[in-house]
């Protein structure tokens, strides 16, 4: 049984920087991003998320849309338990799988297979389980013999394939995916969407951040618009997307 429940959640980032003062005005006036507050002489707080309350139930597929820096990734990382809320309550029940930045956490000198192996152990498998699913994951990437080549030679699209294969292996209750399809080719995006759809049908909750309205309306039954770390709108996909197109 999966469940996500957030009540009045705030996330404030401290930013420590000896030269922060001179940058203050240009930052505050920026159109995008959260709200910067001065803390002390050389530290700032970014209010990345403000007063976020919502809940999701099994079967919910939520699309997050908004400007760069509006808090989409922060919200996903909060749901993953990577960020702790500064205030408020976060309740996430279920086994969580994440696909955030595919470029992070890889061993550049190791082969694709070795990275598939270590990544799946990192994501909660034992060594034996990871070994057992290695072939299946390798097949999904369609990288063939490239999987025997060091990761440092991979293009970002190939990395995406490796990352996607690992994070969608298994049966997560909650799947969190950050804007990642930018570098995938069309064939792979279609295949991924297929795999995601199958996963979503089996698993409970899916949260997806994207700038692609088409993907969001294809995959999600709910949409949330974030702006400056606040929920601007939240509801059924069609309704919210038409609001979004109207310039909210």
């Amino acid at each position: 049984m999966s469940k996500i429940d957030l009540r009045n959640v705030h996330v404030d980032f401290p930013i420590y920087n000896a030269n922060a003062f001179s940058l203050r005005h240009s930052f505050v006036k920026a159109a995008t991003g959260g709200v910067l507050k001065k803390r002390t002489e050389n530290s700032y707080t970014v209010s990345a998320l403000k007063n976020i309350s919502f809940s999701l139930e099994p079967g919910d597929r939520l699309g997050l849309i908004g400007h760069n820096g509006s808090g989409k990734t922060t919200l996903l990382k909060l749901l993953a338990g990577i960020y702790a809320p500064t205030a408020g309550d976060v309740e996430v029940v279920g086994k969580v799988a994440t696909l955030f930045d595919v470029l992070l956490g890889t061993f550049e000198e190791m082969t694709g297979y070795e990275n598939l192996y270590v990544s799946s152990v990192l994501r909660g498998k034992t060594c034996a389980q990871a070994k057992a699913s290695l072939e299946e994951m390798g097949k999904f990437t369609e990288l063939g013999d490239y999987l025997h080549v060091p990761m440092r030679t991979y293009s970002s699209g190939m990395r995406l394939r490796v990352g996607f294969a690992v994070s969608t292996e298994g049966e997560p209750d909650i799947l969190l995916v950050d804007e990642i399809f930018g570098t995938g080719d069309k064939g792979f995006v279609n295949k991924s969407v297929e795999r995601l759809t199958a996963l979503i049908e089996r698993a409970g909750i899916f949260v997806f951040s994207s700038h692609s309205e088409a993907l969001v309306s294809q995959l999600c039954n709910k949409v949330m618009i974030l702006e400056h770390g606040e929920i601007k709108a939240f509801g059924e996909t069609e309704e919210i997307l038409s609001l979004y197109r109207g310039g909210v």
Binding site: F13, P14, Y16, K77, A80, G81, I82, Y83, A84, V96, T98, F100, D101, L104, G105, T106, F107, E108, E109, M110, E114, Y117, V118, V121, L122, R123, K125, T126, C127, P150
Partner: protein, 260 residues
């Protein structure tokens, strides 16, 4: 306290992660080299040999007696200084993983410790070689290295907890630690013996926890029982260290991710 015990448990249940990560770290570091991690062994061997030859002559000591002493001291010191220095990046060096997967930070500490234990094992070849060459024998006292090594690992753990958190927040710490490491080595009895110090200057070695740490492993390897005094001091320090580390961890662990 409850969460900290739960995190220790997570660290045990997810041992596959730190076992694999540390081995991959070492393999990745020496990929495409011919002798791989034995570069570490070779490096240590050269250092020990060089220091042994020069300093035994300076002190007018028999090299077959002095070389085993330096070899053991140097190998343990290599471990201690690596843990101290790498401890400053215990968490920040794993930022890529921390930003992507939710796991107890203790897993990253165990990765660091286990990686350095594997390196220590490679360096043990130097000790074996020097002992054979110098005709140094071992006796039953050698069993004392087991509690000694356990104590060393426990100390490594709290040091990494503190350094990992503090150095993630204050970036100068890693540089400070790096620059005092050589000083610590020079004031620790590795290349010299405590009884070479005159009078109350022996206090330098007495208040130096690194000296005690090295003593409780080096003495039994060289055939004499470790001093009770070292054990008392190190056990006391262990409790103090863990209390501070757990308190700091309880208050700060949630913020570490924001500092990276």
């Amino acid at each position: 306290m409850k969460t900290i015990i739960a995190e220790f448990r997570e660290c045990v249940t997810r041992r596959d992660v730190w076992l694999l990560l540390s081995l991959y770290d070492i393999r990745a570091r020496y990929k495409r080299t011919v002798i791989g991690p034995f570069w570490l062994t070779l490096g240590t061997a050269i250092t020990v040999l060089g220091m042994g030859v020069v300093w035994s002559s300076i002190f007018g000591m028999n090299i077959t007696e002095f070389l085993p002493y330096v070899a053991v001291g140097m190998v343990i010191w290599t471990y201690l200084s690596s843990v101290l220095n790498e401890g400053c990046a215990a968490f920040s060096s794993q930022a890529g993983i921390i930003h992507n997967v939710k796991m107890s930070y203790f897993v990253y500490i165990m990765t660091l410790i286990f990686r350095n234990l594997v390196i220590l094992l490679h360096n043990c070849f130097v000790i074996v070689a020097v002992f054979v060459l110098c005709g140094q024998t071992i006796n039953l006292e050698v069993l004392w290295i087991i509690p000694g090594l356990i104590l060393m690992i426990l100390h490594s753990f709290w040091v990494c907890m503190i350094m990992g958190i503090v150095a993630a927040r204050y970036r100068d710490i890693a540089s400070i630690v790096g620059s005092i490491t050589v000083l610590i080595m020079l004031v620790t009895p590795i290349m010299w013996k405590i009884d070479m110090l005159k009078g109350n200057r022996q206090l330098i070695a007495l208040v130096n926890p690194f000296a005690h740490m090295i003593n409780i492993i080096r003495d039994p390897l060289l055939g004499s029982p470790p001093s009770l005094e070292s054990y008392i001091i190190l056990t006391g320090l262990l409790f103090v260290g863990f209390s501070i580390a757990c308190d700091l961890y309880r208050r700060c662990a949630n913020f570490v991710v924001y500092w990276m």
